[in-house]
């Protein structure tokens, strides 16, 4: 095998670099294409500030759960119970805050702890008892759907205290004088974020370069940074011209950054991928595979609880039907985002993009007035198609 870093002509290096990275960016490009498509066919409605804000609010809980689901799928498992758990936690939150008038911070923390306990209970059977996760969480799905009904006694319960509602329907406070319809604080945050992203990637590139590591070609890097910065700026501009950044978008972004970091850069992240890639080899390398599997389920429980709270706050009421079918969207988001059903493969960015593809399609088709029946057909076909393309790419 020849050493390819040595002396390839510049053009060929660019060519092979783009080819190698096409797979990583393939889904992102699909998202852009889908957005452009709906932007055109809806006559520009999709990217109107109001609609875009709604799009974020509507999909936040799917994205939040997809982060946890990605880890579960990477370890080679699945969690079918997340929708029911989210619904159940919403019900618990309503009972605590509405019926018993518990302070909303306290109730919030209690709900997250209940979520962790549910995750621990399911993870215990999967990790230490080696019961297939499909079965454990199928049972969990039934159990928590039933418990949600029981807790609410079949009735809807609301409304929530106004401060709690702010979790989903609130926007970050405006600290600067307003300029027309534009919210300057949000715009400022977006600009800072764009700069920070470009600065961080430039710094990491020069650091790698100084250690003699092959980096992406400069033109490619520059183009990527400009596109990224512009996309962030344009997106914040749109959001800022409605009511500013929604609180839940801030939470979501922080979580995406956190999970992206954990999966890519930390020991625990590396070990989770190792368990999914080859559990036996990981175990013989000193990794505590059972504990990690257990942990991914606890984590999933907490995120499902958070998603349940966000959803309840958004509806401003807890209903027995909340969370119905969420698990399917969440799992689909991970697989569309390139996660492997066999474990060991999958990226946080992919899962987020997958969730947004599902969200944009839901939203776009609703604007077009396509009935819920054909929406499901189309979403199903997109899921199958995305996974087919991925499998085909890996075989090549």
């Amino acid at each position: 095998m020849t050493d390819k870093t040595v002396s390839l002509p510049e053009e060929r290096r660019h060519g092979s670099f783009i080819k190698n990275n096409l797979r990583n960016y393939g889904m992102l490009m699909s998202l852009v294409a889908i957005m452009l498509f709906f932007q055109v066919v809806t006559g520009g409605t999709l990217l109107q500030p109001l609609n875009l804000t709604n799009l974020v609010l509507q999909n936040s809980y799917i994205v939040i759960m997809a982060l946890g689901m990605l880890l579960v799928i990477v370890t080679g498992h699945i969690d079918l119970s997340v929708g029911s758990v989210a619904g159940f936690i919403g019900a618990v939150a309503a009972v605590l805050m509405v019926t018993y008038k518990v302070d909303y911070t306290l109730a919030f923390i209690a709900c997250l702890l209940v979520g962790a306990a549910i995750g621990a209970a399911q993870g215990y059977w999967v990790a230490y008892f080696k019961i297939p996760s499909f079965i454990v969480t199928l049972a969990g799905m039934l159990v928590f759907k039933g418990l949600a009904l029981a807790v609410l006694q079949g009735q809807s319960l609301g409304p929530f205290p106004p401060t709690f509602q702010k979790l989903s329907s609130g926007f970050i406070p405006e600290l600067l004088p307003e300029a027309g319809t534009l919210h300057p604080t949000s715009m400022l945050i977006g600009a800072v974020l764009a700069l920070a992203l470009v600065y961080a990637s430039a710094k990491s590139r020069s650091r790698e370069q100084s250690h003699g590591i092959e980096v992406e070609p400069y033109a490619f890097f520059l183009g990527k940074s400009v596109v990224l910065a512009c996309a962030v700026l344009y997106f914040t501009y749109l959001i800022a011209s409605h009511r500013g950044l929604p609180n839940v978008l801030v939470i979501m972004s922080a979580l995406i950054a956190l999970y992206g970091f954990v999966t890519r850069r930390t020991v625990i992240g590396r070990q989770i991928y190792a368990v999914g890639g080859n559990a036996k080899a990981a175990k013989l390398s000193g990794i505590k595979t059972e504990r990690l599997t257990f942990f991914t389920f606890v984590n999933m429980g907490v995120l499902a609880a958070l998603a349940g709270l966000v959803f309840a706050a958004r509806l401003n009421t807890a209903t027995p039907k909340a969370g119905l079918g969420f698990e399917l969207d969440v799992i689909a988001a991970c697989f569309i985002g390139g996660a492997s059903a066999y474990g060991g493969v999958g990226r946080v960015g992919g899962a987020v993009v997958g969730a947004m593809i599902m969200g944009v399609m839901n939203n776009g088709m609703s604007i077009l007035g396509i009935g819920i029946d054909y929406q499901q057909v189309i979403k199903g076909l997109v899921l199958l198609g995305a996974v087919c393309i991925d499998v085909y790419n890996q075989r090549r």
Binding site: M1, T2, D3, K4, T5, R207, E208, H211, I213, E214, R265, T266, V267, I268, R270, Q271, Y273, A274, G277, N278, K280, A281, A282, K283, L284, S285, G286, I287, K288, G344, V345
Partner: protein, 525 residues
């Protein structure tokens, strides 16, 4: 008497490795023909050629059966002529009954509906023929391995067998079951059925065989007509192992120090069959700078012994004393074993050693992430530097350390696994079949690495089924058989004959006190 089966000048190679060269082999009706040889001598390959697993055209030479040249396309063609092979790993379905297993592929039926009366009637007949007194309804999982073996033979008889091939049929049987099976073979001989018996147990071979063929490195090296001349075990062993060892191993000058790993009275039980003692109160030690070999046949318990030491990663009810550098240690987990300075390089690098979908770098650092991750966040530059360093030192041939390990050759994959364990800076390395499936050049490199490890003052244990390899690289060779050490030779004094004899001598006593136990892994109650 003309031969029922004749294989003429059969040659077969795999990707440049010659597995069979010009092998001639013939079996007459009513003859038991034993095929012996070391692991990898080509016995199984020859039988796969015969049974059509390797179809006509993928080998050279001719197969003549009943006086006609045969060109089998697959195993169905050979079965149609009554050539039936029974593999070492039995091909029975544990949760189906005896009758269902026997008539799995072509059950007697009327209009597509299975004729149950006929199935039972014929099953009873067949079971009587093989001397198995069980109801046709009994599930396979409820039978011991010996009886399962008989069911396999009954299944072969149901296909009107004319040539029965048995691959190590008694490897997992106790003495009584082995004797019963061999008696059965002798009655088949009277019925004119030809048998090919592959076995490591020379005493059994001597007892029943009419003819013995010895294979070595894919060639026929000896052929003994047992009725014309006496069977000398020494002659067979010499034929099996004799070969030139010069220049296949690097020079070695050992400086051996204090004992670094000492094992006393180590005992391990089977995790699924808790009454079976797999490792029987053994003692073992390695010194600093010493390369100790563990010889033995497959299934002798060597891997189980090594893995039970390595943080109890195999076995149940483990007891005994483990001392590292003179200090008594308890290593309840793999992580503890790694911390204490043990490393175990598995015999199955694809299933147990590597994460094939991950790159070289991630595989190398997997067991020592702490070194590249102060405060649990991975320093990717440090990681890259360490991985590249190992790549250069071990001469791992890959495009860069970001290449997937699944794309590398066997030798380079093994170097990645070795790098992973070197990075943990172990005091003792246990290498289990370190050169399995690796070409000759890469083997030499691995031997050099083993020498370097010993020179650096580490204790090295090499488990290998290739005796020349152990003779070439070890300072001391321990022979394991049936879960116990049955011989020990200093490197200079060991010969293949001595090792083989230690194993064979012990095999004669095999079965004393071993309870019959179902060995079907994974069969659940």
């Amino acid at each position: 008497m003309t031969a029922m089966l004749e294989m003429r000048n059969v040659s077969k190679s795999f990707a440049g490795v010659q597995a069979l060269r010009d092998v001639n082999f013939s079996v007459q009706a009513g003859q038991i023909h034993a095929l012996v040889g070391e692991n990898g001598a080509g016995k199984s390959t020859l039988m796969k050629v015969l049974s059509g697993v390797y179809p006509h055209g993928s080998y050279e030479g001719t197969i003549v059966f009943d006086g006609e040249e045969r060109r089998f396309r697959d195993i169905n063609d050979s079965e149609a002529l009554g050539i039936i092979i029974i593999h070492q790993e039995l091909a029975l379905i544990p949760l189906m009954s005896i009758a269902e297993n026997i008539f799995l592929s072509h059950p007697p039926s009327k209009l597509g509906v299975i004729d149950r009366d006929e199935v039972y009637r014929r099953t009873r007949e067949l079971l009587a023929q093989v001397g198995l007194r069980e109801s046709p309804d009994t599930l396979i999982t409820d039978l011991g391995v010996g009886k399962q073996q008989l069911v396999e033979i009954a299944k072969a008889l149901s296909k009107r067998v004319r040539m029965l091939i048995l691959d190590e049929p008694t490897a997992s049987l106790n003495e009584a079951d082995s004797a019963a099976l061999l008696d059965r073979l002798m009655t088949f001989r009277e019925q004119g059925i030809g048998s090919i018996l592959i076995s490591h147990k020379l005493n059994e071979v001597a007892r029943v065989a009419d003819h013995i063929t010895v294979l070595r490195d894919g060639r026929t090296v000896d052929s003994i007509d047992c009725r014309a001349e006496p069977v000398e075990e020494d002659r067979i062993i010499r034929s099996m192992v004799n070969r030139d060892l010069a220049h296949r191993f690097p020079e070695r000058s050992a400086t051996i120090g204090e004992p670094v790993l000492e094992i006393a009275n180590w005992s391990v039980y089977h995790p699924i069959h808790p009454e079976r003692q797999v490792i029987k109160n053994v003692n073992f030690s390695v010194k600093r700078g010493e390369v100790v070999g563990i010889a033995g046949l497959m299934g002798a318990g060597r891997t189980e012994f090594a893995m039970s030491l390595f943080g109890r990663s195999w076995g149940a009810n483990i007891s005994g004393h483990l001392r590292l550098e003179g200090r008594e240690m308890v290593l309840p987990s793999v992580a503890a074993a790694i911390d204490a300075g043990l490393a175990y390089v598995t015999e199955d690098r694809k299933q147990l050693g590597l994460i094939l979908a991950d790159d070289v770098r991630k595989n190398i650092t997997l067991a020592s992430l702490d070194q590249v991750a102060p405060s649990r966040v991975i320093d990717d530059i440090a990681e890259l530097r360490i991985a590249s360093d190992y790549r250069n030192r071990m001469r791992i041939r890959c495009s860069d350390v970001y290449q997937e390990t699944g794309q590398l050759s066997g030798g380079n994959q093994q170097k990645v696994v070795l790098s992973k364990w070197l990075m943990t800076d172990p005091k003792v390395l246990i290498l289990d079949e370190p050169t399995r499936g690796i070409d000759v050049g890469a083997k030499y490199e691995i031997y050099c690495i083993i020498n370097e490890l010993a020179e650096a003052g580490r204790g090295v244990v090499v488990i290998s089924s290739e005796m020349p390899e152990l003779l070439g690289i070890c300072d001391r060779i321990c022979v394991m058989n049936d879960g116990a050490f049955v011989g020990e030779f200093p490197g200079g004094e060991a010969t293949q004959e001595k090792i083989m004899r230690a194993i064979m001598r012990n095999d004669r006593n095999y079965g004393s006190g071993v309870p019959e136990a179902a060995e079907m892994g994974g069969s659940q109650p």
